[in-house]
């Protein structure tokens, strides 16, 4: 029933000499939402950025272990461009590129060298519908993306990720820069998205994790403490650390 999409095996990660992640083992299930929770600085962002090898952008970063994806170890993959077109990412703050809404959403297709105008238009529309933004922007597709509100920008960025039909989208606290109304729209959207893709989301907001996710992983000081179905983890945690964290009794 739960089909494994990605399998993390004994993952360690180092910024230079400093080890941040320790021996993490975790399965990510297809068409499910997995939330990563844990106190600030525990390594959630660092972990998330292993999946699309973002750490390769900077020097002296080192991975050990495996993230298995379609029989291959992501950490050993040579073609990062191909990898990143299969694994999308959405950041804390909206990151609209300085171009029109249409060009933003079509950007990934352009990078892939898709030339067929009709196909691009169809994909852009489909992605915007998928990101629950189509009705708001269909009359101004060619105006600058920077003119949208923060919440709309974030949904456009999600549409941009969706347009290349990725196998998984990584979200790093996607609502932390948004107001409550924009946040609830994104949460609603997240619940629908897992029908078409897989979601791995970092959040420091436990209510959000409880609301949107099927599975939750609790990370503490770079160690995976507990990984469980969200409902079980929040109602009946196995580990004392987890219980202390979710009940807010953390010292």
């Amino acid at each position: 029933m739960n089909q494994v999409l990605l399998s993390v095996k004994d993952l360690n990660f180092f910024y230079g000499e400093t080890q941040i992640l320790h021996n993490i083992d975790l399965d990510i299930y297809k068409n499910r939402t997995t939330a990563l929770i844990g106190p600030s600085g525990c390594g959630k962002t660092t972990f998330l950025r292993c999946f699309n090898r973002m750490h390769d952008l900077y020097r002296n970063n080192r991975y050990e272990g495996e993230i298995l994806y379609k029989g291959e170890n992501i950490l050993k993959v040579k073609d990062l461009i191909e990898l990143r077109s299969k694994i999308g990412m959405v950041f804390q703050r909206p990151t609209p590129f300085p171009m029109s809404i249409f060009d933003n959403v079509a950007y990934g297709l352009k990078l892939k060298g898709v030339k067929d105008k009709k196909k691009i238009r169809e994909r852009v529309e489909k992605a915007l519908v998928g990101a629950a933004l189509w009705d708001e922007v269909k009359d101004k597709l060619y105006s600058p993306a920077l003119d949208l509100s923060g919440g709309q920008q974030q949904r456009m960025v999600i549409a941009r990720a969706l347009a290349v039909e990725p196998d998984i989208i990584l979200f790093d606290e996607p609502t932390s820069a948004l107001d409550p109304i924009a946040t609830s729209k994104i949460e609603e959207l997240l619940s629908n998205l897992k029908k078409i893709t897989t979601i791995l989301i970092v959040t420091h907001n436990m209510q959000q994790a409880a609301r949107v996710s099927d599975f939750t992983a609790f990370i503490y000081k770079g160690h995976l403490i507990e990984f469980e179905e969200t409902e079980k983890l929040f109602t009946n945690p196995k580990e004392e650390l987890t219980e202390r964290y979710i009940t807010g009794r953390f010292g």
């Binding site: 952008l57 300085p98 171009m99 950007y107």
Partner: protein
């Protein structure tokens, strides 16, 4: 106690207001004085004729500014032609490619170019660059471009090394530090999340630079380029040695010419008639107007850019 504070406040306010009033008055006064001093020439030659006539003949008391204006504009265009791509290249290299440890050295050495006095650039142009241009580069350019019909006019004539091309090159080196450092600052202002976002979609380094970093910096860059243009327009010493002082318009880039600033520097001392002096003031007025106009546009764009970035 309270009274003293109020007094100090007032005094400070008065001083700052005074300072700004004085600054503004000086600018206005310069405009007015230049305008008054050129009045003779304006009446005599009109606006249109002065700007478009290239006859500059002190003997016949006929003065047309076209050759000086042409030289000013051409040297500036040549300077920008070389300086803009070079500066962008430098900024891309410093911010995106070179290892962190070398970044400081590169930035610093480019900025060092800005500290060299312009007279030194002029001397370098005359003694080092001009002979190289005359003996090697210009003959090579002629071999390359003379056979091409459309480009022939740009490279006709005997290479002397004292010409528009050499002047434009000297100017370009002078303005590179301005454009390069403004470009570098703007590239670095592009929030990291934005370039990372593009990388995360599978963009290559070049695509990130082209699609995200450059467009993000567009407005600031434009402002920097316009400020550099203002400098190139008014530069005197660096080009006085390497342009010749030739009041006729040649389309060829390897012919001598003159600029407004060079004409002013060379000819005030020998201006023997009121009309001659007035014509020189007229040229000065045109130069001030050009620079003022460009700078206003730059300010406007930069302001708009700042708003954009939020």
């Amino acid at each position: 106690m309270d009274r003293l504070y109020v007094f100090k406040d007032r005094l400070f306010l008065t001083l700052t207001v005074l300072a700004s009033i004085i600054t503004v008055s000086i600018v206005i006064a310069i405009f007015v004085v230049l305008l008054l001093a050129s009045l003779d020439a304006i009446k005599h030659f009109g606006v249109f004729h002065f700007i478009f006539s290239q006859t500059w003949s002190p003997h016949r008391h006929i003065f047309g500014g076209a050759s000086s204006i042409y030289g000013t504009v051409m040297t500036t265009i040549i300077a920008l032609f070389f300086a803009v791509p070079t500066s962008l290249g430098i900024a891309v290299f410093v911010t995106q490619i070179c290892p962190k440890s070398l970044k400081g050295i590169f930035s610093y050495s480019v900025e060092l170019l800005a500290t060299i006095p312009s007279i030194i650039y002029g001397m370098w142009g005359l003694f080092s660059l001009a002979p190289v241009m005359r003996n090697y580069i210009e003959p090579a350019l002629q071999r390359l471009f003379l056979p091409i019909p459309g480009l022939k006019v740009l490279f006709e004539g005997t290479p002397l090394g004292i010409d528009l091309l050499t002047s434009g090159l000297v100017l370009s080196i002078m303005i590179i530090p301005f454009i390069a450092s403004i470009a570098r600052d703007n590239f670095e202002l592009t929030p990291k999340e934005f370039s990372e976002s593009a990388y995360a979609m599978g963009a290559t380094k070049w695509e990130v630079i082209k699609d995200v970093i450059m467009p993000y910096s567009k407005v600031g860059l434009l402002g920097g380029i316009i400020i550099a243009t203002g400098r190139a327009l008014g530069e005197t010493m660096a080009v006085a040695f390497v342009l010749g002082n030739d009041h006729s318009i040649h389309l060829s880039l390897i012919e001598s010419s003159t600029t407004i600033a060079v004409t002013l520097a060379n000819e005030f001392t020998e201006a023997d008639s009121a009309l001659y002096v007035s014509s020189l003031f007229y040229l000065a007025f045109i130069l001030l107007f050009l620079s003022f106009f460009l700078l206003s546009v730059a300010k406007f764009l930069v302001k708009k850019g700042v708003k954009r970035h939020g």
